[in-house]
Symmetry: C2
Subunit: 324 residues, 2 copies
């Protein structure tokens, strides 16, 4: 079982620098932004993205100021999308802490999200590396497109795997891919290693999102957000998509009827979740997740042997083993 320390160990010093710089990055001129940002920092997540930047960089070379700066700006980019997601999802809770949106309101969320996003972009310019700047801007657009596509998928009730993977690619996989690629770019890695990091990061992004989506089918795990939340919002993820296609046809038809009529009572959500589990939807999703992890690991093994490379391998396992 991989634990966080197995990921952080090869980059203890660098991760500390990241944490200090990240806290300092959000010092703002206006009290309102500062209050909003303090709230974000309380509910801050697992820092998977900066860990990816630092490990990829160290696996390809020597971590420098641009690496730390990149780790900070990519976590800022991620933070900005979380803030805007709160507006979008009308979620009242995120990871157990009242969301920014519940405390303040949509106005502040939109503006603070914009502020944090711009701060990320300003920082990308400080790297002076046009490739890094270009990747960061493109990520901004991909993340928005992914969320828009997800919204369309929900509203038009699109129930195919291909669309599911298109959405998670843009909303999650490309960001982790960008983190690994920018990490490598920041240390002037050779083109082969940069490509390895980019691709491995993307595969890890897929497995990360599939894992996140699987959580939503379990009641007992402490993941800090309500179970069945995705389904309640009309997001039909991989386990249920599989069940609807491959499970018992009669029950599948009944479940589709629930989905199309949007009759999402607690009972009906439980029925959908049970159907997904009993039809082998979780097993299937875990298999796909493992495949992506394996592809990532195969690529990472092509990097030169080092503690940081081991850290990346551990990260690939942590992503699929974590219980929150």
């Amino acid at each position: 079982m991989i634990e966080r320390k197995n990921i952080e160990e090869p980059i203890v010093t660098e991760f500390k620098r990241f944490n200090d710089d990240f806290a300092a990055a959000l010092n703002s001129s206006t009290r309102r932004v500062q209050a909003a940002i303090d709230q974000i920092l309380i509910s801050t997540g697992k820092h998977i993205r900066p860990l990816m930047v630092l490990l990829a960089a160290k696996a390809c070379g020597k971590v420098n100021d641009h690496t730390i700066n990149s780790a900070v700006l990519l976590e800022l980019l991620h933070t900005a999308t979380l803030i805007h997601d709160d507006v979008i999802d009308e979620t009242k809770q995120r990871r157990g802490t009242p969301s920014l949106n519940a405390i303040f309101d949509n106005r502040v969320s939109v503006l603070v999200g914009d502020y944090v996003l711009s701060t990320a972009l300003i920082r990308s310019i400080q790297t002076g590396n046009l490739q890094i700047i270009a990747i960061v801007s493109a990520l901004g657009r991909d993340l928005a497109e992914g969320e828009i596509k997800q919204l369309e998928t929900v509203e038009e009730i699109i129930l195919d795997e291909e669309t599911y993977f298109q959405v998670i690619r843009k909303k999650t996989a490309l960001l982790l891919s960008g983190c690994a690629e920018i990490g490598a770019l920041s240390v002037d890695a050779n083109p082969e290693d940069i490509a390895i990091c980019r691709e491995a990061g993307e595969y890890m992004g897929y497995s990360f999102q599939i894992k996140d989506d699987i959580f939503d089918y379990y009641k007992e795990l402490n993941i800090g957000k309500p179970t069945g939340n995705d389904i309640r919002e009309g997001k039909i993820t991989l386990p249920l998509l599989y069940a609807l296609r491959h499970g018992d046809p009669t029950e599948a038809a009944a479940c589709k009827k629930i989905i199309f009529s949007q009759d999402l009572t607690t009972e009906n959500i439980d029925r959908l979740i049970s159907f997904a589990i009993q039809s082998g939807g979780i097993d299937y999703a875990e298999k796909r997740m493992q495949e992506y992890r394996d592809k990532a690991v195969e690529l990472i093994m092509k990097l030169p042997d080092s503690d940081a490379r081991q850290g990346l391998l551990n990260l690939a396992d942590y992503i699929i083993q974590r219980n929150k």
Copy 2:
């Protein structure tokens, strides 16, 4: 009386290129974004910002692809803030056309705004000019900070001119300043001309916003938005700020009581507007607006004589003479 043709004449060909490119820039992969953007294009404004880019560029050199690209991206940046403003202000109308937010909802507005903002940033990178990229990113943050500061000013009922000017600097003046500066940068102008454009643009930005704010005090003008709208939202602008400080003390006290109790009935809004007008608030605001226009004109006259320079001078006058 300056008319639009007096501004557009020196850059007819260039402005056409801008219009074609701007329409093409927002072709999107997802239908939802496209529908949202079509809605934006219907309610598109006066294109003051691209006109500023093109005129400043042509006054300092020869308009090129980077100039057109910059004009497009700066209008995109402005468009993104309009979309997010619609979320923020909960305005149901913008310039007489139902706002995006009224037709779709906050979710789409936030994401499409993010999408358009990212598109602007991606385009700034295509100029390959790190100074332009840096200005655009900084503008993104300034615009958000300006709106946040305005929100604080409303909520804390801050009634001083200094704060008013801080807000309009960030939310309006710096964007017009950036347009003029980037126009000059795009044609590799000399440092003196670049500085002239930047400063003149900022002054024109102040006069533009003061003019916009004055509109809110008049009932009869066809400006496409309801009169007294700012006051209804708690935005106390220059004419009323002046009246509260320099008008009849008894009436000023009564008006402040209305503002602090947020008792913003139609009758009370009319009373505030009348007080602002009768106390010379409009005259004062027009005087300040004229001062900024004069400072801009004085600077622009230092540029080499040309039709484009005349266009900039006309733009400075158009901004304060326009009736919508």
